[in-house]
Symmetry: C2
Subunit: 113 residues, 2 copies
DNA sequence: AGCTACTGCTACGATAAACGTAGCGATAGA
DNA sequence: TCTATCGCTACGTTTATCGTAGCAGTAGCT
């Protein structure tokens, strides 16, 4: 049974902002919609990257935000900090597989804006 | 050729926050990572919805934010305001098709948190 | 040993985004 | 006309993100 209090926190202490409706997809959207979160996953997909490399690829994201985001993504088990820098976990790669198709779609759509 | 100045604004005047790297996927991520953006698309997928219905389904999102988000999504042509309320455009449905698989994945993943 | 040049961060004040509540004008029904 | 709802807008407060500065740690020189 889902404890009512768990609505506000997910494993590792990462807080859920505002009131999601409690639906899993909304919890996921809440995590992914934090600044740079999807960009981080995207850029780690091909290979492990260092903090500063990641920062450069995320449009020079503020190191403070980048760091909190990396912490959160580590706490929910989507990325980990290995030898060659940050990299996706198995779960992270699963998620990325669903994100990947957006790349091609974006390449067609964005130029029409 | 991509005018350098276009990096900061997409059609309809919706501004791109911070410096994306200019890659289409980053522009898309920037749009989708605004608060409630993905939740809105998600909830409009099955049927048109009124402002207040949408608000309720998005965890009682602030009407001000919800309204700016709806404006932005309309300006980039992902949703429109029709007879029965807000609904996805053809483009919006295309995008949703790529978002949809995340629902099932989230249902398996989120409970493990 | 000392110097330089990196790295991954942390601190902190400034700015921007989101929140929450109140309420307005319009429409619909009793 | 009264009440209830709607789609919003206004506005003051809180939270998130930014941007710059800088520190400790490591590696490569001399």
């Amino acid at each position: 049974m889902t404890d009512i209090n768990r609505r506000s926190v997910v494993k590792g202490g990462v807080p859920v902002r505002g009131s999601t409706t409690g639906q899993p997809i909304m919890v996921l959207f809440d995590l992914l919609s934090r600044r740079w979160a999807m960009g981080i996953l995207w850029n780690l997909a091909s290979e492990p990257r260092t903090f500063r490399d990641l920062q450069a690829r995320c449009g020079l994201a503020s190191p403070s935000v980048l760091n909190t985001r990396l912490k959160e993504l580590r706490e929910v088990g989507l990325i980990k900090n290995g030898e060659g820098g940050y990299e996706l976990t198995a779960t992270g790669r699963e998620l990325f597989a669903h994100l990947e198709p957006l790349g091609d779609w974006a390449m067609e759509w964005v130029p029409t804006l």
